[in-house]
Amino acid sequence: MTCSEFLALLDDLIDDSVAPETRAELQRHLRGCEHCEVTLNTTRKTIEIYRSHEIYDLPPGLRERLHAAIMARCKKGC
């Protein structure tokens, strides 16, 4: 398996949607390729970081204000 072939299956590997035999092939490639191992680990980490850090928070005051505005209009029938 080449690095390009590995890369084409990277998302499926990350999302755990590869068949067992393909997974075994990918793991074989990983054992001998530091480049792809780094790519896999850091791509996984990228997703985890974006999932676990709130970069656009909704402050409580603003949340309540928007919420009140939405519900007031819904009660009036929009």
């Binding site: 690095c3 390009s4 790519t39 996984r44 985890e48």
Partner: protein
């Protein structure tokens, strides 16, 4: 080998279905529950697309009001959340269009495909690299990095990886084919990874 699972994907009847039925039956307070459940996500999605706080506030209000008005059209064969996200994405794109005074804005904008390219930056990252930054500094790095992605990649990454929609739901929400979503997701993940490497790479000779 650990894997990252999509957050969505359960098959049993979703609790939102009962809330939607209550709203249809005239119980406005059930809508209050739905708004509180999803307002943060809708606000985030709107900010990611419009990249403007005031626009995101307007989009959030408009999306929830439009969903309320159109609740009779909600079929129930998709999740309420997915349906709501679709409304919010459309509202966000409309808002962008307005701001750019009529210039066409679509999720196909700025897409350059370089399929199959192997990442250039090979540097491994420090262990727990985010620990090297303060909360505010890290948030700024993450914002700046994702804002630099082409729009069509950014939306796919946000819906699929940040908000946890499945590939199918992301495709349905954006009106894209499943292969198109997959291809954009891969490019988005790799580009973000490469951009974040500038901040997170292991420094030579420094063991952290």
């Amino acid at each position: 080998m650990s894997t990252i699972q999509p957050i969505a994907g359960e098959l049993e009847p979703h609790p939102d279905v009962a809330l939607v039925e209550q709203v249809r039956g005239g119980d406005v307070s059930a809508y209050d529950t739905l708004v509180r459940k999803y307002d943060r996500q809708i606000f985030r999605i709107a900010q990611h697309i419009t990249q403007n706080r005031e626009d995101a506030e307007d989009v959030m209000q408009d999306a929830f009001l439009k969903a309320y008005e159109k609740l009779d059209q909600f079929q129930g064969n998709s999740k309420f959340y997915t349906w709501l996200v679709r409304i919010a994405v459309n509202e966000s794109l409309m808002r962008l269009r307005k701001r750019r005074t009529g210039k066409m804005v679509s999720i196909d904008e700025d897409i350059q495909t370089d399929e199959g390219s192997v990442p250039r930056d090979l540097a491994d990252w420090a262990p727990d690299p985010e620990q090297n930054y303060g909360q505010a500094e890290l948030a700024e790095i993450l914002r700046k990095t994702i804002q630099g992605l082409p729009q069509g990649f950014r939306i796919v990454f946000v819906l699929r990886d940040v908000e946890g929609l499945s590939t199918e739901e992301t495709a349905e929400t954006l009106g894209l084919s499943i292969p198109a979503v997959k291809s954009r997701l891969l490019r988005a993940r790799l580009q973000l990874r490469e951009r974040l490497s500038r901040y997170f790479h292991r420094k030579k000779g420094v063991e952290k």
